[in-house]
Symmetry: C3
């Protein structure tokens, strides 16, 4: 695909500074871009890096930042760049359409318009696939599962029986939605399985990364609400509810029945205990272990997680500890020495 700079400016609602007829054939970072590629400057502080770029054009917040290179001027270069990238991405691969002859589609399956079901997919009986949705190769959709419109399920995804996806949900390779939650009753040392007869629900615009898992509920629903993005290898336990527009980084684990509010951010490898509540807009930084409720807006760190400032003070105190103790001892020794034997 190729577009003129002017065409791209129109696409993102920006203004051209310089030669709008420049032809753009791809996108890249400032450092790696070559001729024909467009790049972007998110932070005016790094404007000096534009001097050496080999890009043919740039997206900036102010034409002054790019006196030599033709530019698109927008308030939010990050967003504009994402839109431009989207334009190029959409045209790079033809979209899959139709049901591949090797796919196995069960009875009473409802398939919408413009659906693509790729080779060796299995769609079990009673499932629904919404308009415009694409199942790439080797996807599994269980009995009576419901996939919304314009979803994209990559190879080796499993959506188990009865689970529900909203619209525009993206599931990357190996994602498992609706495996049984981890629930047992232990009688005399033997674990008896508690059937997990609930479902998992992923609302509109949820995206889940490679090999992540969202368990079905014991009964009722595990829910990931609208717009939440989940990275690779994340574990969401049974009966967890996650609010809207959260970001869960890679390898996060959330134990059963926890409630996560809206706009919550969890850093990589964070662990969250079961049966607790994380308030709206709370944040837990990477590797922290959240074992108590977080009030809305809290930034928590460490294991067990504390308010970030308290955690950092704790770390600093411990770091200074050998020195602090040495000083205290010296002062005590000084006091002890000065008390000569005459005072006894």
């Amino acid at each position: 695909m190729q577009r003129t700079l002017k065409e791209l400016a129109d696409l993102v609602g920006g203004r051209v500074a310089g030669d709008g007829s420049v032809v753009v054939t791809g996108i890249n970072s400032i450092d790696e871009a070559g001729p024909g590629e467009i790049t972007f400057l998110a932070n005016p502080r790094y404007a000096s890096r534009l001097t050496d770029t080999k890009a043919s054009a740039v997206i900036v917040t102010d034409a002054k930042l790019s006196p030599k290179l033709p530019a698109i001027v927008v308030p939010d270069p990050d967003l504009a760049f994402a839109q431009v990238a989207g334009a190029f991405a959409d045209h790079s691969v033809p979209r899959r359409r139709g049901v591949h002859p090797t796919a196995v589609v069960g009875e009473r399956v409802t398939v919408g318009r413009d659906v693509g079901i790729g080779p060796q997919c299995v769609v079990e009986e009673g499932a629904t696939i919404g308009d415009g949705t694409v199942l790439e190769a080797q996807v599994y959709v269980g009995r009576n599962a419901s996939i919304g419109r314009d979803c994209l399920l990559y190879p080796h995804v499993s959506v188990r029986d009865g689970c529900i996806l909203g619209d525009r949900v993206i599931l990357h390779c190996g994602v498992v939605v609706g495996a049984d939650g981890f629930g047992y009753v232990t009688v005399k040392g033997v674990h008896h399985k508690i059937p997990q007869i609930g479902i998992a629900v992923l609302e509109d615009d949820v995206e889940v990364g490679a090999n992540a898992a969202v368990d079905r509920a014991r009964f009722g629903r595990t829910i990931v609400r609208r717009g939440t993005k989940i990275d690779n290898l994340v574990q969401v336990g049974h009966n967890v509810h996650i609010g809207e527009q959260c970001l869960l980084a890679a390898q996060v684990g959330i134990a059963g029945s926890t409630r996560v509010g809206h706009h919550v951010m969890l850093g990589g490898q964070v662990g969250v205990s079961g049966h607790i509540e994380l308030g709206d807009r709370s944040i837990a930084t990477a590797q922290s272990g959240v074992d108590k409720n977080l009030p809305p807006g809290t930034i928590a760190s460490g294991a067990p997680a504390r308010p970030r400032q308290q955690h950092l003070r704790g770390l600093a105190t411990v770091d200074r500890l050998p020195e602090t103790l040495r000083k205290l001892k010296r002062r005590i020794e000084e006091l002890e020495k000065r008390r000569g034997p005459g005072q006894e």
Copy 2:
């Protein structure tokens, strides 16, 4: 499915209190249950929550706890509820039977009675599938692997060549049994692979969660013994032996050759070093890092893991540290001040 309360009471060996002819059509939690559903009260402390439930019946330890709602009275409501849930679950989906025409079954494969092999499964030559076992869609069973009776393997499971499953083993979507262990000999900075020619064995009643992995042994066997339950995204390294009736929560990792006793419990994201021993009934709480042997019955926490009481005292000491140091300094200052210049 629907059953009368009396029928369910007979199923779980309980006694009906109130109207045994009430028709039950499903199960749910106290808060989420509606008309027709049965719920349960595990802890008498929460009896007040029964006042507001919309359930039609309840399982309790004592008829007095439910003066209004028809009840089943049993000593262990958790267990009875699991049994009731099982009854409902078993009837919700028809069991897969027969070999699907798209499955690829190799030569010299032994298939027992009442086996279901779903669409696009691959069973390699020499493998054995025991009576009553179901392979859902897209399962892979390697050469000469042996699957016992009444097992249930969900989509995208891989059981690699030569590995052995006992009876009633459940493997959730994406589980990998018998991938090569992580073993190399490094000569002059170059890593040479040590072939992993052992196998992995999962004994009767083992259950493994979505996308978890149990590596094959370098030689000999990696073993997970009878009744042990493993949650999603867990890693069990090569030559690890795990005892009976253990519980491993999500994202636990156990490095090679470690021996885990019976009835051991590992919390979420626990890491266990290689070549150590965890005694029977030992517990490591979430996110702890176990790098030394644990004596039987130990409860360990923290990284590196310590006996839990010591760990908690350590945390408390560090938490109080700024205040403790401040007080000590004040007392020293006081002593220093009181030593007037006259004493010099």
Copy 3:
């Protein structure tokens, strides 16, 4: 397969001590080996264990270590054992050859000589499969992806569109190469996806463990260089570059755009922040959280990671803290007591 001890000695360039006509039929550890099996003694300190072994032969550094058992003498028994194991492993299973009739191979796919493409594999249009490469069952290779020579891809592997594997790459079950990186632009609380239009490249001799994921780059390349070995359930974020001959243990996570040098070793469950640099031959021990650059050769531990010696001193200081504080208090009390009322 069976070989005489003399044949095996020739294979590994070693010398026979004792009866070279002994027939070897398998390999095993000192403790588990039985008649017909060969074992090895890597560390002369454990020579006493040879007294009780039931093995028929052993690989040692010095004939004196094995006065009774026939032996192969080599400078590096670990390496020789790996070579012997390799010889036995290669003959245990016949190699897959040809394209299975149920595999779906798209248009313009280039397939080299001696390739094996197993049942229910999907190779999308424009992909390249190099000479001698084997795709076991149910593998997915995306559009225009390129797989080098003599690679081995196990069941349920996904290599997404455009990604590149070098020669002799091994991907275990469930590995995902080239899933989208985790990148969003957040405008007024709503996360907009940044298309991930780069690729992932795994160079020659890379091995990746079960269910691990290497994300594609936002643009440009995520790279894992020659000879690096990655264990199960590891997450490599978008635009990460990993150098040659690194070892990443299970469940490691590396966030986006980080640069990892050559010969770096990361212990199990280590987390590495984005946009930092780990110098050549640096090491982070299990569960550490690396959030700053590591100079070459550093050994780092803890979260946040510090130089190992500093980390261990810190742990020791904290461990001794209750006792240290008690002693300080006693000395201060002593000083305070000795100041009798007469001094006021």
